[in-house]
Subunit: 200 residues, 2 copies
């Protein structure tokens, strides 16, 4: 890997962490350069615009997300254990990836939800991919017999992500010490009400 690619990677590492705190808009080339002891123009040269930096930062964040959440969860057995692992790893992924500002995507979602453009497009694609991951895991749980055969897996993924979003909100903004417990309970009852043979 060439020198340029190395520093580029270092930049993105820090950019992901910084953006999790201040958002992709709050992400600033000057601030980034100061932190990394580069000149503004030197750093700028790696990307050709701020928008490109934002896009690369999102992509880098997605890679870290896969490493911290998706891949580890794949080690858990298909079905219920894997779904639980996805929830667990999701709750821990910001701190585990040293994102002291919480989940990068939750942050970005609020910023870009009504700001059309390439950044939003990428973000939407990533979030849909994530919902697909959840839906596929739910589908596997169905075929394992852990969830009801007639389950709407997209609906399940939707509700499961809702539990995660609320965890993020409660733990980060409200500082609720019961946040994790609450979300686990929410997931439990979500799961329990969809078990096979459940009266619905």
């Amino acid at each position: 890997m060439s020198k340029g690619q190395i520093t580029r990677q270092q930049i993105l590492d820090h950019a992901v962490a910084l953006a999790s705190k201040v958002g992709l808009s709050g992400l600033t080339i000057g601030r980034l350069a100061d932190d990394l002891k580069l000149s503004k123009s030197g750093l700028f040269g790696h990307f050709q615009s701020k928008e490109a930096l934002q896009l690369k930062t999102l992509e880098a964040g997605a890679e870290r997300f896969i490493d911290a959440v998706v891949r580890p969860a794949l080690k858990a057995p298909r079905g219920e254990p894997r779904l639980r692992a996805l929830l667990d790893h999701w709750c821990r992924w910001p701190e585990q990836s040293s994102l002291h500002g919480g989940c990068l995507f939750v942050q970005a979602a609020a910023e870009f939800d009504d700001l059309a453009g390439p950044v939003k497009d990428l973000l939407v694609r990533l979030q849909k991919d994530w919902l697909d991951v959840l839906a596929n895991a739910a589908r596997a749980a169905v075929s394992e017999g852990h969830l009801a055969a007639d389950l709407d897996v997209e609906q399940f993924a939707h509700e499961m992500y809702g539990v995660m979003l609320m965890y993020h909100h409660a733990s980060r903004l409200l500082g609720d010490p019961m946040a994790e417990q609450r979300s686990k309970a929410a997931f439990d009852s979500l799961f329990d009400s969809r078990r096979p043979g459940q009266s619905r």
Copy 2:
């Protein structure tokens, strides 16, 4: 009401709408002044700092929230109907209050979740109040016999807000046309699994 208070109110009206799009940090005195055909300094004089403007904007948003969500829902009968009304009005409150950028508080939550200071403090207070409203409505549903007597009402409020957050995410960021339907279904099953006499 004096002249000053009138324009001050107009400023806050627009500030709430603008902040819902660009956030409380993206909210800019210059932009605000341009839109309202005021001078920057003239507008600035109404508040003495940007932080004060942010605080007043949050407060103004809270008033509009109460008018658009809480008060209308109180017209519905206690118990299940009122809970459903809270969900319905919450989903519609951004557009109903012409917040084209979605819920001001969801936006602000992402911005300030790790930015200590008076703005975050106020936001946290408002969000806790909102969860209390939900919990109290759930408590009423218990005493009406619509929900199980041993229900953990705070837990219920937590899960219900999660459904709302996911609605916001799905409808605004992802543009999912099924968002409302999904959230209604999520609420239904949340509610159904807590009915009195439900096996848990």
